[in-house]
């Protein structure tokens, strides 16, 4: 059996490239419906598939429904009737309690950090990606290899040393500590480089002949053509910074700089007094997830593309 031409090579650095190829597969119209050929599926098979689907759908949707309903319960109701989906009585006490904590502050910090990181990444990653894809200069290959190598380092290894560097630079406990280290990510550079390489060079050539400067070409001509990749990068950056935790732990210990992940995370370790207050933690989790859900629904198509572009969650 011969291997299809588009088989992906898996090396530590190549994994993202392979993922790009799968991404482009999603973008291209699928060549027929591989994997489930030829019309007639037996009714038995249909029943089996639908049954399995139902089970999995339940498993995947139930926790979110529980989250929603528990945030409107009293703690006693939550503890005694965990399976019940209708609160009895219905109360918004959990949300009031949350409003009294620093939750709004955490929310604002998360928004600030996410917006800055996303804008930064989209701009800087595209710049670097374009440079690596289209501009010719000595050392370009070395730079690219260095970036690939960097992608291979597991993030967790950097927790302690990043703390040390932030401290040395005097950035500890400032907004820059939260934002600057996240401003560039190697995977994003890689994605943009791959995409720029796939754009035909003729348009740039024409512009160059007309005398446009390199940055003009990049900004006004090439970047707009890269819309799908830019949107993918935006989604990935949003996801990465909104949900980031480990970096924020080491970047600051000032409560005024806590983001949602950090602030809500400490609710589990008795942040609101001893004793587990489930409606409060469920309400906090719910409020944290709503922005993600909104962005997700709006950009659904691009999310699923972005999933294949190298994003990985332990």
């Amino acid at each position: 059996m011969s291997q299809p031409a588009s088989d992906a090579r898996v090396t530590q650095a190549d994994r993202a490239r392979a993922a790009i190829e799968t991404e482009t597969l999603l973008v291209r119209p699928a060549s027929g419906d591989g994997g489930s050929v030829v019309a007639r599926s037996s009714p038995m098979k249909k029943v089996a598939v639908y049954a399995a689907l139902l089970v999995f759908a339940l498993i995947y949707i139930y926790p979110f429904v529980v989250q929603l309903s528990t945030s409107f319960k009293t703690n006693q109701d939550a503890v005694s009737n965990p399976l019940a989906l209708i609160p009895d009585p219905i109360t918004t006490a959990a949300f009031h309690r949350i409003a009294q904590t620093d939750f709004p502050l955490w929310f604002m910090n998360s928004v600030i950090v996410t917006v800055c990181v996303t804008l930064g990444r989209v701009f800087l990653d595209s710049l670097a990606g374009y440079s690596l894809a289209r501009l010719k200069y000595r050392g370009r290959d070395a730079v690219f290899t260095a970036i690939l190598a960097v992608m291979a380092v597991p993030g967790i290894v950097l927790l302690i040393p990043k703390f040390l560097v932030l401290n040395s630079l005097g950035m500890y406990n400032t907004y820059s500590a939260l934002i600057v280290p996240l401003l560039v990510d190697a995977a994003g550079v890689f994605i943009m480089k791959q995409f720029f390489e796939s754009i035909p060079a003729s348009v740039e050539e024409a512009a160059r002949i007309d005398g446009a400067g390199t940055f003009r070409i990049f900004w006004s001509i090439v970047l707009p053509m890269a819309r799908p990749a830019v949107i993918t990068l935006t989604i990935l950056s949003f996801q990465g910074s909104w949900n980031e935790l480990a970096h924020f732990i080491i970047a600051t210990d000032k409560p005024a700089l806590f983001t949602l992940t950090r602030g809500v995370g400490q609710l589990t370790s008795g942040g609101l007094g001893s004793g587990k207050q489930f409606p409060i933690s469920m309400a906090a989790a719910l409020l944290m997830t709503i922005p993600t859900a909104l962005v997700f629904i709006a950009f659904q198509r691009y999310f699923t593309q972005g999933a294949n572009a190298g994003a990985e969650k332990g």
């Binding site: 440079s131 380092v153 280290p181 560039v184 990049f218 332990g314």
Partner: protein, 381 residues
């Protein structure tokens, strides 16, 4: 387009360029090229490269967290931190071995499960007769997008002793454990149930043999009940991402190949094994590699939910590295653990790549590389 001369400019010593541009353009590109890439290099260099160097330095010192790690008061202790973790009998080695054991069971549990689940979901969602496919694909993928903190909170609630999961199990007459407080190992429990041994008084041979600061009985504990709850949570969360990769792979399977197999008389199962699986091989490889890399680094869930407990059964090297430094002021050891973890991941993924490599393709790549090298040597003057 008119071709501009390609001969080398006299006096510049630069090799003739194949491009159609003149000297000025080349310089401009060079400047722009470096300019564009500099912010990236600065950030990555400052916050990725230098930290690695700094951590390596700290792992060879006895720095206790006060003052600069480069001050003269900090002593170089050579490989002492590494020795304490690997060769010297003591608490540090015991904790490190415990974290390795826990994560080992975690990885061999999570990676196959999430790969299988992702593949199953992909096959189900890919069925042509399915209505509302987008909805289900979205539902399965959504948890991957949500913050691990939010999901941890939900699962903490679902898995309490009197929580939803146990209430559900009680419908089948199963008395669920107090998940996150239960440190008993699964292998121990299964052995109890099968009558192989009794956890209350473990077989002396296993309990009294010590390997690297842990008894054999402790090595063969399997993941604890608490760890299993976390494993279930992680599989549930990440399967969606890999499902999308499998869907992409499935949709790329050319229908002609499958039809040919059908014409040849292969039934559904044979088709799946002989046609679909080999086609998906690269994707499966990718999913497993990403899975291994990700699972060995697990940290968020331990930080939010268990802090390494109960009884250190959810301790992982990543969390141990963090807590050794940030709570116990043993920065040298924390850095050493981080590096050992790095080495481990690197070795594992290299081994896996080598085992699962496609020998034909590898040989082909080698030939191509040799060709390219020869070509390059031929070009440069």
């Amino acid at each position: 387009m008119s071709a501009v001369d390609t001969a080398a400019e006299p006096g510049t010593g630069r090799a003739p360029r194949r491009g159609r541009r003149g000297k000025g353009e080349g310089q401009r590109q060079s400047v722009a090229g470096w300019l564009f890439v500099t912010p990236t290099l600065v950030v990555l260099g400052l916050f990725l490269v230098i930290p690695i160097v700094m951590a390596l330095w700290v792992s060879f010192t006895d720095w206790n967290g006060r003052g600069s790690p480069f001050s003269s008061r900090v002593n170089l202790v050579g490989a002492q931190n590494y020795a304490a973790l690997l060769t010297e009998q003591g608490l540090s080695r015991q904790d490190f071995m415990i974290s390795l054991r826990n994560t080992f069971y975690y990885v061999i549990g999570v990676v196959p499960l999430q790969t299988l689940l992702a593949l199953t979901l992909a096959i189900i969602v890919n069925q042509r007769f399915l209505k509302g496919r987008t909805f289900f694909r979205t539902a399965f993928y959504f948890p991957s997008v949500v913050s691990s903190v939010a999901i941890s909170l939900v699962f903490l609630f679902l898995f309490t002793g009197t929580g939803a999961v146990n209430k559900f199990l009680s419908i089948f007459g199963i008395d669920g454990p107090t998940w996150f407080s239960d440190p008993r190992g699964l292998i121990h429990l299964v052995g109890d149930w099968l009558g192989l041994w009794s956890s209350g008084s473990p077989p002396a041979a296993l309990e009294n043999t010590q390997v690297m600061s842990l008894s054999l009985w402790e090595w063969f504990s399997g993941p604890s009940v608490a760890m299993s709850a976390i494993m279930l949570q992680v599989v549930w969360t990440t399967a969606g991402t890999f499902m999308l990769m499998f869907i992409a792979g499935l949709q790329d399977l050319p229908t002609e190949v499958e039809e040919a197999a059908m014409v040849d008389g292969a039934n559904k199962w044979q088709r799946f094994r002989a046609v679909t699986l080999p086609h998906l091989r690269p994707t499966i490889l990718l999913v497993i590699t990403l899975g291994v890399i990700g699972t060995w680094q697990v940290f968020d869930q331990m930080y939010v939910m268990t802090k390494g407990g109960p009884a250190k059964t959810t301790l992982t090297p990543a969390y141990l590295s963090y807590s050794a430094a940030f709570t116990q002021n043993q920065w040298g050891q924390g850095a050493a653990i981080a590096f050992l973890l790095f080495m481990l991941i690197f070795v594992l993924t290299s081994i896996q790549r080598y085992w699962l490599r496609d020998k034909d393709v590898a040989a082909q790549r080698k030939a191509e590389r040799a060709q390219r090298r020869a070509a390059k040597r031929g070009v440069t003057a």
